[in-house]
């Protein structure tokens, strides 16, 4: 027990060590200035290593088993509808609670008012609408991803179709929304959601006969970085109107 804990702590240190090495190297040899707050930096380093260590333990005792257990229970129950709804709820609820999303939505609201696209009175509605759109799109990715695992669809075809749709919609989307849309694709999957969703997908693929957990279990996260781009641009078209020409 003691040994595994020490080993895990060591692993966490090894994960963080490269960043430290790079920063120390540049500070000492290239920039050649002393560290501004050495004591604070050292304390911060201990927090980074300790935090990562606790996270990994929690990952193995809770997030992975939870995702797998839920997957087998849903398969025992045998209802496609509920497990797809579960995928949707997981995506929707974790995204609506994501702090980074709130920040981006607020910024987008400010820009929209400045551009004169919407009046001040509509700003709050615009922000809420954008957040709901993004959360909904991640929910759709969760539902679609789970359904894909159940049916054994090829991920590549789904992704190619997604890219084609995104290109088609980008051509018609107002340019004010495009930057926000592409950013939204990157920020939506939080660190707690990723392991849980991955374990769910893999758990589902493991409990269906004929599915390969490696080929069929992964891929939900990939969908969750495509759908927000698409849905936010559609939201933009609805709010701003389609771009002429």
């Amino acid at each position: 027990m003691k040994k595994t804990i020490l080993r895990k702590l060591w692993h966490s240190f090894v994960d963080v060590a490269p960043i430290l090495a790079v920063i120390i190297f540049f500070q000492v040899f290239i920039i050649q200035k002393p560290f501004p707050n050495l004591l604070e930096n050292i304390m911060g380093m201990f927090l980074v290593v300790g935090g990562l260590f606790l996270f990994v333990i929690g990952l193995e005792t809770a997030l992975f088993p939870l995702g797998e257990k839920m997957a087998t229970q849903f398969m025992d129950q045998g209802s496609v509808f509920w497990v797809v709804l579960f995928g949707f709820s997981l995506g929707f609820s974790t995204t609506i609670a994501e702090p980074a999303l709130t920040v981006i939505a607020r910024k987008a609201g400010e820009i929209a008012v400045q551009d004169g696209a919407i009046t001040q009175a509509w700003e709050a509605d615009f922000i809420l609408g954008l957040r709901l759109t993004i959360a909904f799109s991640v929910g759709v990715a969760g539902a679609l991803g789970v359904y894909r695992v159940l049916r054994g669809w090829s991920l590549v075809k789904l992704i190619l179709a997604g890219y084609a749709l995104i290109v088609a919609v980008t051509i018609h989307a107002p340019k004010e929304i495009i930057g926000i849309a592409y950013d939204a694709g990157g920020i939506t999957t939080s660190t707690i959601t990723v392991p849980l969703i991955t374990a769910l997908g893999v758990g589902l693929a493991t409990s269906i006969r004929g599915r390969n957990p490696v080929v069929d279990g992964f891929g939900i996260i990939a969908l969750a970085s495509l759908t927000p781009i698409l849905f936010v641009m559609i939201f933009g078209i609805v709010v701003y109107g389609a771009r002429g020409g």
Binding site: D15, V16, P18, A21, V22, I23, F26, Q27, F35, P36, E40, N41, M43, G44, M45, L47, V48, G51, L52, F53, L54, F55, V56, G58, L59, E60, T61, A62, L63, F64, P65, M70, Q73, Q77, W82, F86, S89, S93, A97, I159, L160, Y163, D183, G185, G186, T189, S190, T191, I192, T193, V194, P195, L196, T198, V214, V215, F218, I220, I221, A222
Partner: protein
């Protein structure tokens, strides 16, 4: 010390909110739809608390140690005074003068990705279900190399001023060819890696680097060019993971061909 306490509370509140939404969904489905008890409930709950606390502490540590140093260096390394010395900007000093900034971009992309907790989770899972065939370090190094290359190329793009969409469209074309030739098992994992890499550790540092560079190179807009880096950082790891698997299967084929 007071600032520490506030930061830790704030950070814990954020991760707790994230966790709470998950727990509510899980509890609803468990109680209303599945109507079954989860085994080892106490253990699971303890684990969830560890996840939230660990992530909260990790974020505070980043805020206190990695981010301020990294951001200060990103600004310093893109500062013309530092790059060109007292003499200032020479006529005709092209992208080559920014070599250090590009090297730093590469290393920051590489190292932040190795410390990314969600990538670690995906890599552990991949090892578990492939019964060790996909090595976590191999996968993480491949992803880290992709991010590093993407961020370095992105930094070069900001300096050279090539339009973003050339690279993105070119990248997607390469990706399609690669997907066609890659072994089947790696494709979903590769595309997942692209979504996972741009997360807690990578985004703030890479955006700081992009904004620092864009602010110091004349004719660049920090808002537009700072974010281009993130798009690169999620495109290139897909390529590098596919490439990693292609090389792996090529070597395996040659081995069996000879033996």
């Amino acid at each position: 010390m007071n600032s520490y306490r506030n930061l830790i509370f704030e950070s814990l509140a954020n991760t707790a909110a994230d966790l709470l939404s998950i727990v509510l969904v899980l509890a609803f489905f468990q109680a209303v739809i599945l109507r079954r008890r989860l085994p080892h409930l106490g253990r699971l709950l303890t684990g969830l608390v560890l996840v939230a606390v660990g992530l909260g502490i990790f974020l505070v540590g980043l805020e206190k140690c990695i981010f301020p140093l990294g951001k200060a260096m990103a600004h310093q390394l893109s500062d013309p005074d530092f790059l060109f010395g007292e003499a200032g900007l020479q006529a005709g000093s092209g992208p080559a003068s920014y070599a250090w900034a590009i090297v730093f971009a590469f290393l920051i992309g590489f190292t932040t990705t190795l410390a990314e907790p969600s990538l670690l989770a995906v890599a552990l899972k991949a090892k578990e279900i492939s019964t060790g065939a996909i090595s976590p370090w191999g996968l993480r190094l491949a992803v880290a190399f992709g991010v590093a290359f993407g961020v370095a190329l992105g930094a070069y793009r900001i300096i050279a001023g090539t339009p973003l969409h050339y690279f993105i469209i070119g990248g997607y074309l390469i990706l399609m060819v690669q997907t066609y030739f890659s072994p089947n098992y790696i494709i979903p994992l590769a595309f997942d890696s692209g979504g996972v890499t741009t997360s807690t550790v990578t985004v703030p540092l890479v955006v700081a680097l992009g904004i620092g560079l864009a602010a110091n190179v004349s004719g660049r807009s920090p808002l537009v060019d700072g974010f281009g880096l993130i798009a690169f950082a999620s495109l290139f790891p897909i390529m590098s993971v596919l490439g990693y698997a292609m090389i792996g299967s090529f070597l395996a084929k040659r081995k069996t061909g000879q033996g």
